[in-house]
């Protein structure tokens, strides 16, 4: 439909410079420039390197997205940007660019929440989100269970990791096994040839008295490292495939069990899984199996939409426009610890219109 909002979204919260363009729930462009290769030798994302890369990539990525979408900037109905949470310096590059773009074009600006965007992106794949939707977000930076009755205004945290993020655990175990960075894809690949039941690694926070929806992966990480070190100390060969499969099984088991339980407890019949770890094949398979058994409809976007990208920000921005949410003002700042309960950062004054006279007067 041509009258659906045409929105450009900018995402720079970590190491991907993402610019996406959507019309309503239709994806038109998803341009991403990643600095992940530069970070690989450091075994993790280096904030200053990420920020420098964002500055270099920002405008070329915006221009590439516009070209890919085949739309003119002056036809946009709004500019959305990740206002947080994320790396402060990295966020600031995207927020500054979005403000400049919105001001120059005379378009409304929407500073939105990165986590809510990870959920909203599924609209581009499976159509409008059911309300409420339960969401399991798992990546190198976050592991949360969120209940979203209204993705533009009401997102409630159910649980989160109390130590490492799930993706971080994959990176750390990859390091223990000497598999490089990032760890997720290589562990997923090796695990396919290993036995997930070979080693009984612990399931964090799974006791009857533990918080029902929180996660902990730090103990698991230590347990895997000790197991591997004991093998090495004994001069035995480390069965890398079995370790990968058993470790992955422990992570995925806890994630899916708690997510399904949250759905049942809250009477929610839809579960969406997003974030980079949602690309994990075992997580997808186990979630499918358990959701089917519990009568829950599972929604997982394709892997490219699960990792950080601009399309997810555009998707949430379009929803803000469609629901007439107030725009942000030009004082919008990056907020590295923006709480998930703030799906967007509206203007201080309630009614604020960026002048449309700025460029095309």
């Amino acid at each position: 439909m041509a009258d659906e909002p045409l929105v450009l979204g900018i995402e720079t919260s970590c190491d991907e410079t993402g610019v996406g363009i959507v019309r309503g729930t239709t994806l038109l462009a998803d341009a991403v420039a990643s600095s992940v290769d530069t970070h690989a030798r450091y075994g993790g994302v280096v904030p200053e390197i990420a920020s420098r890369a964002h500055l270099e990539a920002m405008v070329p990525t915006i221009e590439r997205a516009l070209k890919e979408a085949g739309v003119s900037a002056r036809d946009l109905d709004g500019i959305a940007v990740t206002a947080g949470p994320g790396l402060a310096g990295a966020l600031l590059v995207g927020v500054s660019a979005a403000k400049a773009y919105a001001f120059a074009l005379g378009k409304p600006l929407y500073g939105v929440n990165h986590l809510a965007s990870h959920i909203c992106v599924d609209q581009l794949e499976h159509g409008p989100l059911p309300e409420p939707t339960m969401a399991l977000l798992v990546s190198g930076g976050h592991s949360s269970l969120l209940l979203a009755p209204d993705i533009t205004a009401d997102v409630r945290p159910m649980g989160a990791t109390i130590d490492d993020a799930a993706g971080e655990a994959f990176d750390k175990i990859a390091r223990v096994l000497d598999l490089g960075f990032p760890g997720g894809p290589v562990i997923d690949r090796l695990a396919r040839e290993g036995d997930p039941a070979a080693i009984a690694f612990p399931r964090g926070l799974s006791g009857p008295r533990d918080p029902a929806y929180d996660f902990s992966f730090s103990g698991l990480k230590t347990s895997v490292a000790r197991w591997v070190e004991a093998k090495r100390a004994a001069g035995e060969e480390v069965p890398v495939r079995d370790v990968a499969a058993s470790f992955q099984e422990a992570v995925v088991d806890v994630l899916t069990r708690k997510a399904v339980r949250a759905c049942k407890d809250e009477g929610v019949d839809h579960l969406m899984i997003g974030g980079g770890v949602a690309a994990n094949s075992r997580l997808r398979a186990m979630a499918e199996e358990r959701c089917e058994r519990a009568g829950i409809r599972l929604r997982v976007p394709r892997p490219k939409l699960c990792t950080d990208n601009g399309a997810m920000v555009a998707a949430l921005g379009a929803e803000m426009v469609a629901r007439n949410r107030p725009a942000s003002d030009l004082e919008l700042s990056a907020d590295s610890s923006l709480p998930v309960t703030d799906p967007h950062v509206p203007s201080h004054e309630h009614v604020h219109e960026v002048s449309k006279e700025n460029l095309y007067s």
Binding site: Y42, E48, S96, D178
Partner: protein, 244 residues
């Protein structure tokens, strides 16, 4: 298109205009600099400053720059599409703030359909504003007990730098010279003859750019002068977790 080359090509040899400038284009420079604690924006029409806004707040570059740009445009009664060139301080300066000005300049240029972005060394703006006509030094705060600095023969002529150093390490090289910028005031033992200005002003940066444009002078690439590598440690060897 503003620089209308076709008209020049059609000019008859006999009709070459005299000193008057029949092809003078309307110049409007938008200048900004976020490489120091000053968040500063200005408009310049090629002859003089039209409007300026400066605030000193080392932690709010991201919040303050766009409202400053809006303010100078409003004050001048102009819109952004009237801008014919963007002038931006490329540092050196603390990175987080520095990037705000550079990405804003680049994004404006793209949104305006490719108006030119003229980069200027931030220290050159301070030097120009000082008006000093003898050898002197510009020093700004580089944090971590260091200064960004450069040496000038006069307010238009940089002779060394920019560089980043500990004040004590350059004491001999700057001894006896007046010094401008906040870095000079921070280390009076190394820069005893501190002079104005203390803070960067986009008005001075714009005036310098206007002068250079008229003279056909060169500009810096609109890319950041970081002068330091990012702090990044290649992780040491894998640390075992098994207790000894």
């Amino acid at each position: 298109m503003r620089g209308d080359a076709s008209r020049i090509a059609h000019t008859d040899r006999g009709a070459v205009p005299a000193a008057a400038e029949p092809y003078a284009v309307c110049v409007l420079l938008l200048a900004m600099d976020t490489a120091t604690p000053a968040v500063t924006a200005a408009l310049h029409d090629g002859d003089s400053v039209v409007a300026e806004s400066s605030q000193v707040d080392a932690r709010r570059h991201g919040e303050l720059l766009l409202p400053a740009v809006r303010r100078v445009l409003q004050e001048a009664g102009l819109t952004l599409d009237a801008v014919t060139g963007i002038v931006v301080g490329v540092g050196p300066g603390p990175y987080t703030g520095l990037r705000v000005g550079l990405v804003t300049a680049a994004t404006f240029a793209s949104a305006l359909g490719g108006v030119p972005v003229h980069g200027l060394c931030t220290l050159d703006g301070l030097a120009y504003a000082s008006g000093i006509e003898e050898p002197f030094v510009v020093a700004t705060d580089a944090r971590r007990k260091e200064v960004y600095w450069a040496r000038y023969d006069d307010c238009r002529t940089r002779v060394t730098g920019p560089a980043v150093d500990r004040p004590a390490d350059i004491a001999e090289r700057v001894a006896g010279f007046p010094a401008v910028g906040a870095g000079a005031r921070l280390y009076p033992e190394v820069f005893p003859d501190a002079r104005d200005p203390e803070h960067q002003s986009a008005a001075a940066l714009a005036a310098l750019a206007a002068e250079r444009l008229k003279a056909g002078g060169a500009f810096e690439d609109p890319r950041p002068l970081y002068l330091r590598r990012p702090d990044a440690q290649v992780p040491k060897n894998y640390k075992v977790v098994t207790p000894k």
